[in-house]
């Protein structure tokens, strides 16, 4: 008994615990309030709906842990999808299209990285700039008109394997990979180090520039993948795809307990954060919550999810 309580207490030490608690609370409530909630199919839908935000948030989490921020992910989603679709249409090759889409994401990320490391532009501003540029290029490439997008991408975006959405499976695999990368590889640990104390890390011989570049590159790559999934799901690559995604993605990261000031954060938390947000949208539809209350409720849940954590953690910070 004692140890049980102590165990739960010890869980409270993890910042993601309070969001997990909120997720559980919403899920529990839903399982009573709606007959459909617990149907496997509905749960899988929620997983799919969370998947793109979660995948992009994995990269964003690494960036934020390294004390950066990437506002351009929404535009990179759109640009990568457009590049893939246009090349697929023009070359007729799926492989070239998909590769080009991923490389576009990577390239955008690396540009952000270079602007930060070489030109010393604050990442907030640098990625705000690329946000605009990437969107503009996507619009210019398509003249604003969505490009049809199908084949393998559609399978990844909308397909299912044994009823499980492919994009959800992909999210799980990527979350595991990124988790292992962040917690068990040398570079992963160095990402935490440069986020927590860049100066100390540099003095210890960690190559700040290289790691920042990799982190931004990865974030771009994952955003590119997110773009392919999203466009694949809709079978259409819209240059406006992903607009405004940056706020959702960053919110998922922060909800999951990552500190905006760098050095702290867990990949598990990111996935929980993304799931909570998808679950909320699911709840609105299942419960048929009236229009404007949806907006209010969303805000309240976000605040409560993190507020629980704040209340128990008194006097920690300053």
């Amino acid at each position: 008994m004692q140890t049980g309580v102590a165990y739960i207490r010890s869980l409270g030490r993890y910042r993601e615990a309070s969001v997990l608690a909120m997720l559980a609370a919403v899920a529990l409530y839903l399982s009573f309030a709606s007959d459909y909630f617990l149907e496997p199919r509905n749960l899988l839908n929620v997983g799919r709906q969370a998947s793109v935000v979660a995948i992009v948030a994995l990269g964003q989490a690494l960036v934020i842990i390294a004390r950066g921020i990437d506002l351009s992910v929404g535009s990179v989603i759109g640009l990568s999808a457009v590049v893939a679709a246009v090349l697929m249409r023009d070359t007729g090759s799926e492989t070239i299209g998909l590769m080009a889409g991923l490389l576009t994401g990577l390239a955008c990320g690396l540009v952000n990285g270079v602007l930060y490391t070489r030109f010393r532009i604050n990442p907030f501003i640098a990625t705000l700039g690329t946000l605009s540029i990437a969107r503009g290029i996507a619009l210019l490439m398509t003249g604003g008109i969505p490009v049809p997008f199908g084949g393998l991408a559609e399978f990844v975006g909308a397909g299912r394997i044994f009823d499980i959405p492919v994009s959800f499976l992909l999210m799980i695999v990527l979350a595991i990979v990124v988790h292992v990368f962040a917690s068990r590889t040398v570079m992963g640990r160095e990402i935490y180090a440069i986020g927590d104390n860049p100066k100390a890390a540099r003095l210890a011989g960690v190559n700040l520039r290289a790691i920042r570049l990799v982190v931004f590159g990865l974030c771009g790559l994952l955003a590119g993948l997110g773009g392919l999934i999203l466009a694949g799901n809709l079978a259409s690559a819209d240059p406006n795809l992903g607009m405004g995604y940056e706020l959702d993605v960053i919110a998922a990261v922060i909800l999951g307990g990552t500190a905006l000031s760098g050095g702290r954060g867990s990949i598990l938390g990111v996935v929980i954060g993304a799931l909570l947000m998808a679950l909320l949208n699911n709840a609105f539809v299942l419960l048929g919550i009236s229009a404007y209350w949806q907006v209010v409720t969303k805000g309240l849940v976000i605040i409560f999810a993190v507020g629980l954590d704040g209340l128990q953690r008194r006097g920690d910070d300053d």
Partner: protein, 298 residues
């Protein structure tokens, strides 16, 4: 004689060169025919020593952008302005321009506040909603569940389109049950997820109405759920994404706003007013949209 695709002919120019600013946005395929209409007007009116300059207000639709655009056009001393005011809050600047002797022609949509614009040509959102509502009732045989997805809560045009249909249905077809509304922020991917969830909670849903951006996302969800033929989507605008699903049958109704004609006619009517003082036929020139159904797509 009127230009192709338009319904109004230009009169003789006795005043010397005329410059018209055509202020419009560009962020999705809806605007493509608007842009083309403006270009056609320019080509047509060049012969009459008049130019129509297309001015892009950017890709973010807002009243402030419209105000800034009109202010800019006034600073550049245009003789007349065609504008897409869309939102409430543009009446003041339109009045200001008119008072300065620069006539303003509104197209596509305008705010609820009365302004001194020369005329408005466009679709009345509420009646367009009603038009769709009638079609929905017919398709649903006056009963069943209708899911409603709107663009932005609180966006006038979206709300009017939504209420035009919903109010009509509530008044005349009490057996039609409304699910929603939900907000998709004009995003197709969000419409997709909403349809998925709506079908989970309402397996007997028979139709989805999307008032603004991204109806094809809803259609794609219907397709992926293998409900083609059982659930239909209705929405606005004959853009390629939407049209595609009209062919395959997930989309069962698409209303358009004749944007090309709006752009062309408004420019020519404004020109006629400037050079000859010829008033447009009415203060509000309604455009009845063409409702395309799967039959039209074949």
């Amino acid at each position: 004689e009127a230009p192709e695709g338009g319904s109004v002919a230009a009169v003789e120019n006795t005043k010397g060169p005329v410059r018209i600013a055509f202020l419009s946005f560009q962020n999705n395929p809806f605007w493509t025919p608007v842009t083309e209409g403006a270009k056609a007007a320019n080509d047509y009116l060049t012969k009459f020593d008049a130019t129509v300059d297309f001015v892009d207000l950017g890709d973010e639709l807002s009243a402030e952008a419209v105000v800034a655009g009109i202010e800019g056009a006034l600073a550049k001393k245009y003789d007349g302005i065609v504008v897409v005011p869309i939102f409430d809050g543009t009446a003041r600047i339109i009045n200001e321009a008119t008072d300065e002797g620069v006539p303003v022609f509104n197209i596509v949509a305008e705010g609820a506040t009365e302004s001194k614009r020369l005329a408005f040509i466009g679709q009345d959102a509420t009646s367009a909603g009603k038009q769709i509502g009638e079609y929905i009732a017919k398709e649903m045989d006056g009963k069943g569940k209708l899911g409603v997805i709107t663009g932005y809560f609180g966006a006038t045009q979206h709300t009017q389109r939504m209420n035009g249909a919903v109010d009509y249905l509530k008044a005349n077809f009490p057996d039609i049950q409304i699910v929603g509304p939900f907000e998709n922020k004009d995003k197709a991917e969000s419409a997709y997820s909403l349809v998925q969830d709506m079908m989970t909670a309402n397996p007997d849903l028979s139709m989805v109405y999307v008032t603004a951006g991204g109806p094809f996302g809803a259609a794609k969800a219907v397709k992926d759920l293998n409900l083609t033929g059982k659930v239909g989507v209705v929405g606005f605008d004959h853009t390629p994404d939407n049209m595609q699903y009209l062919k395959t049958g997930e989309m069962v109704g698409l209303l358009d706003q004749a944007p090309y004609q709006q752009a062309l006619d408004s420019s020519v009517m404004l020109y006629n007013y400037i050079v000859a003082g010829q008033e447009p036929p009415a203060k509000v020139i309604p455009v009845t949209g063409k409702l395309l159904t799967p039959d039209d797509a074949k």
